[in-house]
Every structure is written in structure tokens, then in C-alpha cells.
């Protein structure tokens, strides 16, 4: 059973098998177009596969939105080194809970996507890096991989066609930082999850310093549909340069939070009102974080936008990982900014000084503010500190901490000012039901 009711506005491509009985099993998968895209890809050249993915407009679903086909094209296929496929299932961006469902309900779709990527670059080995907290999904994935071996899908003779591909799961042990691709690779190699300087990018020097395709779960899961139904079909589902659908994770103060598969470019206000069932308790919308906690917050009057990478970027935020966090009029923006900063301070790996120090100082400043002991100059200091972190770290965690903070301060300066001079938080005593 799904964790939330589906919505009629959904366009189910990646999630189309979720409600089938035994949707995890290879039998269900095979009876519903399963591994047909792989069969098709086995008859295509490497370049044809990459070109098809490029033409589909698929962009990385982990957060950055980089064109997937282009990423695959960077892999030096002639390199004598082994090529690796790495699945990033270290889903940990606050607000995001979609990869869980993709693995839980349709693990074979992921395997098929990975195998098509392997064909595209001539890889014979892949790994699924799953965050340690998702232990039950490691078991789900292991069972699916076993089934695929038993059916001759994985192994030394893929689908009886003479190609070799092996796949295995790998458990993380709790670290947000390991969702960043180079830190993930370090962690995979058995080290602390500190990021690597890039370039070289993983496509050239990734897993064990070999060429590696590293993508998010959802990105790989979109590949079978692209190969089977064609790039034109997939790109036609979304908006220009933003192919396909997206699993949006709606959370916060709405009536029907849940994960919904919607076309790229779906309007955010419609998402809140028609898919999410509107604001809880008839409250007014105050703000939305459109793509996970590292994305700058949008004020209510900025939310009438198309949810694709370019439109959200034009609104000076990011589509990110698809985590849409909806906040009502009773939400204290200082508290929201503080909670998010506590998270980044906790998760900063400490490798780069601007991030390690910056996140902790921002946490202290925001805590002081929330307790009513902030000063007017602190508002400027918070902005200055944040801006000094931007672009000054190995990986984007520093940016991820700074960007939302800058937006909270700039867009809700009045709320920061309302906390000045020892005044209690104006939202502290707002009565609200603890759960929906």
C-alpha cells in the first residue's frame, strides 16, 4: 500500500507500477514492460543510447539538474580502466523522500536503468550506495538483485547476449555529506566522506579513480522509459529543456502531504492547492522551500511559477531534489532558518574552513536571534557570513547552507527585526495542532 493516496493530476511514468500487487518482484516487472528497454538497448550502439538520453532532456534528479546524457558523454569510453556505475541512494536532503519509494516499490526499474547506463559506457560493475538508515531498502534491493541474477538479467551473460554486468548494494552509515558525489565515492572506498576537489569529475576519475557514471536513483529510474518509449515521448511530458516527470515530495502545512509524480513545469500553486489539498486549517501560505532545505525560500507571492529547473532558477531559487516544504502564516522564519542551519552545522564534514566555521557561527547567531538576544547588526553579519561561504568550499554543502540563509534574511527581514531587543518570538505561542 502506498504511504499516501495518489492524485488524479499525477502523470505516472516512474511510479506506474507502484500499486501493482508484488510490485517488487521480477515477475510483476517482466509482465509490465520490465527489461524490454534493456533488450532494446542491447541492440543500440553506445552513442545511440547516449544520444537518446541527451534528446530526452533528462536532467539529474539529485538536485543539480545537470543534463544526464551530457554527463554520460563525458565518460572516456576508450579508457583502458574499468568503468563503474554508481547509484546515489543516499537520499538525505531535508524535505526529500522519493528515492525510498522508487526502491521500495520498483527496484527492478532501477536495475534496468543502471544496466542501460552500463551499456552506454561499457561498464561491467555497478553499486547502489544506500544510506544506512534505509536498511530495509538494502534488503529490498538485495532481493531484487538476486532475482535478476537468477533470471539471467545480471551476470556474465546479460539476457543471453554475451555482455557482462554485476551489481551490488553498499551501505552508508549516516552522513548527509555522502550524498555529494565526490564524498560518496570517498565513503564508498571506505574513508571519511570528505569531498574531492573537482575537476577531475567522476566521469573521468570517480570510483577507484576510474571513469564512473554517478546519478541519483530517480535519474536512473527514468532511463528505461526513455529507451522504451523514446526521447520524444519523455521530453514531451515536461517543459522545454526539462524532460519528463518528477516525483515531488510535498510536506509541511498542507492537507495532503505526499509524494506525487507530476510533469516537469507543473505550477507550484496548483501543486499546493490541487495536489496537496490546500493549506491545512485554512491558514494562509507564507513561504515554500521548493526543492529541499538547501534551496532559497520563496515568499507566497513568488510561488506562481512552473516547477522546472529553469523557471525556479529564474525565481532565484532551485528545483533541487524535489522536496517541496510548505509553510503557513504561523511559521517563524527565524526558527525555520535556525533549524536548517543546525542541520548544516551538524553535517558539515569540516574539510573546508568557510563551511566548518561558517555553519557553526551562523547557528550561534541564529540561536541568539531566536532567543531574542540578537542585535540589528547581527542581521547584516548573518548576511555577510553567508555570502563569504558562497563558492569557497570544495563541495556545495557550504553553498547549501548559505543560500537559504541569505534568502530567509533578505525576504523576511521584518521577522528578524521582530525578534530584536529581547522580544519573545511572536510565533512561539501560536496554537497549532501537533499533527494533521
Amino acid at each position: 500500500m502506498l504511504y499516501n493516496q495518489p492524485n488524479p493530476l499525477e502523470v505516472k511514468v516512474l511510479s506506474r507500477r507502484f500499486t501493482l500487487p508484488n510490485s517488487q518482484s521480477i515477475e510483476t516487472y517482466l509482465a509490465n514492460d520490465g527489461y524490454k528497454a534493456l533488450e532494446k538497448a542491447l541492440d543500440m550502439t553506445q552513442q545511440q543510447i547516449i544520444d537518446e538520453v541527451k534528446a530526452s532532456g533528462l536532467r539529474g534528479r539529485g538536485g543539480a539538474g545537470f543534463p544526464t546524457g551530457m554527463k554520460w558523454g563525458f565518460v572516456p569510453r576508450q579508457s583502458p580502466k574499468p568503468k563503474y556505475i554508481m547509484v546515489n541512494a543516499d537520499e538525505s536532503e531535508p524535505g526529500t523522500c522519493k528515492d525510498r519509494l522508487l526502491i521500495e516499490y520498483d527496484p527492478h526499474q532501477l536495475i534496468e536503468g543502471v544496466m542501460i547506463a552500463a551499456l552506454a559506457v561499457g561498464s561491467e560493475q555497478g553499486y547502489v550506495y544506500i544510506r544506512g538508515e534505509y536498511r530495509y531498502l538494502i534488503d529490498v534491493m538485495d532481493r531484487a538483485i538476486e532475482e535478476a541474477y537468477a533470471k539471467g538479467v545480471l551476470g556474465d551473460n546479460v539476457m543471453g547476449r554475451g555482455k557482462k554486468f554485476h551489481l551490488a548494494t553498499h551501505s552508508g552509515a549516516g552522513a548527509y555529506e555522502c550524498g555529494e558525489e565526490s564524498a560518496l565515492l570517498e565513503s564508498f572506498e571506505g574513508k571519511r566522506g570528505n569531498p574531492r576537489i573537482r575537476p577531475p569529475f567522476p566521469a573521468v576519475a570517480g570510483c577507484y579513480q576510474s571513469p564512473t557514471i554517478l546519478n541519483n536513483v530517480e535519474t536512473f529510474c527514468a532511463v528505461p522509459a526513455i529507451i522504451l518509449s523514446g526521447a520524444a515521448y519523455f521530453s514531451g511530458l515536461g517543459s522545454p529543456k526539462n524532460g519528463g516527470t518528477r516525483l515531488f515530495c510535498l510536506s509541511g502545512h498542507i492537507n495532503k502531504p505526499g509524494v506525487y509524480e507530476l510533469p516537469m513545469g507543473f505550477n507550484l500553486m496548483r501543486m499546493i492547492n490541487e495536489v496537496g489539498g490546500g493549506m491545512r486549517g485554512g491558514k494562509k501560505l507564507k513561504a515554500v522551500i521548493p526543492g529541499g532545505s538547501s534551496c532559497p525560500v520563496l515568499k507566497a507571492n513568488e510561488c506562481d511559477i512552473a516547477m522546472d529547473f529553469d523557471s525556479v532558477a529564474a525565481a532565484k531559487s532551485m528545483l533541487g531534489s524535489g522536496g517541496v516544504v510548505v509553510m503557513d502564516e504561523d511559521t517563524c522564519m527565524v526558527n525555520a532558518a535556525l533549524r536548517i542551519m543546525k542541520f548544516y552545522a551538524h553535517e558539515s564534514c569540516g574539510w573546508c574552513i568557510p563551511c566548518r566555521e561558517g555553519t557553526n557561527w551562523l547557528k550561534k547567531l541564529l540561536t541568539r536571534f531566536h532567543e531574542g538576544m540578537g542585535t540589528r547588526s547581527d542581521i547584516i553579519l548573518i548576511g555577510d557570513l553567508s555570502k563569504n561561504m558562497l563558492g569557497r568550499t570544495f563541495c556545495p554543502l557550504g553553498d547549501a547552507a548559505a543560500m537559504p540563509t541569505i534568502a530567509f534574511v533578505e525576504k523576511f527581514q521584518d521577522e528578524f527585526e521582530a525578534h530584536l531587543d529581547g522580544k519573545p518570538c511572536p510565533y512561539e505561542n501560536t496554537s497549532r495542532p501537533v499533527t494533521a
Binding site: 504511504y3 499516501n4 574499468p82 537520499e91 538525505s92 536532503e93 531535508p94 524535505g95 526529500t96 523522500c97 528515492d99 525510498r100 521500495e104 553499486y127 544510506r131 544506512g132 538508515e133 534505509y134 536498511r135 530495509y136 529490498v140 551490488a168 553498499h170 551501505s171 552508508g172 552509515a173 549516516g174 552522513a175 548527509y176 564508498f188 572506498e189 571506505g190 574513508k191 571519511r192 566522506g193 577507484y208 515530495c249 510535498l250 510536506s251 509541511g252 502545512h253 502531504p257 505526499g258 509524494v259 532545505s293 522536496g323 516544504v325 511559521t331 526558527n335 525555520a336 533549524r339 536548517i340 542541520f343 551538524h346 553535517e347 564534514c349 495542532p433 501537533v434 499533527t435 494533521a436
Partner: protein, 173 residues
């Protein structure tokens, strides 16, 4: 050091997953599954994993401090993790955590005197759309109400297993 037959089989599989000269990749998976069996990351466990993966004990030790799920001290039989990150915060996650602290009389990363329950305020666990969320060991509980948390904690404290507590159901398979 030896482990249960199941863990030995698991470790053998781990060591076979990676290229022969890359056994170090098995360090973190072995640490977390080893910790599940031993109860904590002990010096003995570190040395055993170092031996089996061909790295130095120091190379194993240095990763332990990095990962939030690895711990050097034993946790309770039931490790209760309450998320207070943004999506949970908005719908009562903080209140649930405060309630758990009050009820158990322990704080973040502390264990009850009888060693049965430990508590941790955790970062996003990937249940944002079904918030507020709680994990007990590896099991997820979605849309948790204060009444359900009360029942869960009372049941655990009374010696019940989570699955024996009526009206509180884990969601993950």
C-alpha cells in the same frame, strides 16, 4: 574475533563485492553490521575489520567518528530516533522529541538505566511527506501522534517488542 554464522556469511559477501585490491570498501558496511551484532564499535571490532580488509586499525578508527550511525558506546535495545528537521518540525517533530525526553528522563544520545531504550534527535530520515517520523532501530513510523509515541515508549519500557504494541505500527517491510 568471530561473529554469528549469519554475520560471517554477510561479511564474506561484502568482501567479495569489491575488486580484490579494494577490500577497504567493505570497512563501513562491516562496521555498521558488526555494530548491530556487537552492540557498539569496540576496539576488538575495529581490529577485526582492519585485519579482514587489509587496512590499519587507525584507518578504521578514523571513519568511525565521521558517521552518525556508528557509536563507540552501546545504545539501548531499542534506539528511538525522532526527527526534528524542517518537514517534521513544521508538524510537531520537536514536540515529539521533547515529549520523549520528558517521558524517558533522558536526553540526546542517552540510554535509560535499564539499558532498554536510547534516544536520539536525528536529522532528516527521508519520511518528510509522512511527517512527523520516528525510527526505532531500523523501522520507520510515519505520521506519529503524541498518543502513539506515548504508547510506543510505554510498551517498550514495559518490556514489549515494538510489534507487540497495539495501535503503533511500523510502515517499512
Amino acid at each position: 574475533m568471530t561473529f554469528s554464522p549469519e554475520t560471517e556469511v554477510r561479511f564474506a559477501k561484502f568482501l567479495a563485492k569489491y575488486p580484490a585490491d579494494r577490500k577497504r570498501s567493505a570497512v563501513i558496511p562491516m562496521l555498521i553490521y558488526g555494530q548491530d551484532e556487537v552492540g557498539a564499535v569496540t576496539e576488538e571490532l575495529i581490529e577485526e575489520i582492519a585485519k579482514r580488509t587489509g587496512v590499519t586499525p587507525l584507518q578504521v578508527t578514523e571513519v568511525v567518528g565521521f558517521y552518525s550511525m556508528l557509536h563507540r558506546k552501546p545504545q539501548g535495545t531499542y534506539h528511538v530516533q525522532v526527527c526534528t528537521n524542517i518537514s517534521c518540525l513544521l508538524v510537531g517533530g520537536q514536540e515529539l522529541y521533547d515529549q520523549a525526553c520528558h517521558k524517558l528522563g533522558i536526553g540526546h544520545k542517552e540510554v535509560t538505566k535499564d539499558g532498554r531504550i536510547s534516544l536520539e534527535e536525528v536529522e532528516c530520515m527521508g519520511a518528510c511527506s509522512w511527517a512527523p517520523a520516528v525510527q526505532v532501530n531500523y523501522d520507520f513510523y510515519h505520521d506519529v501522534t503524541p498518543a502513539q509515541l506515548d504508547k510506543l515508549l510505554d510498551g517498550l519500557a514495559a518490556g514489549k517488542k515494538p510489534e507487540e504494541i497495539a495501535e503503533v505500527h511500523k510502515v517499512s517491510c
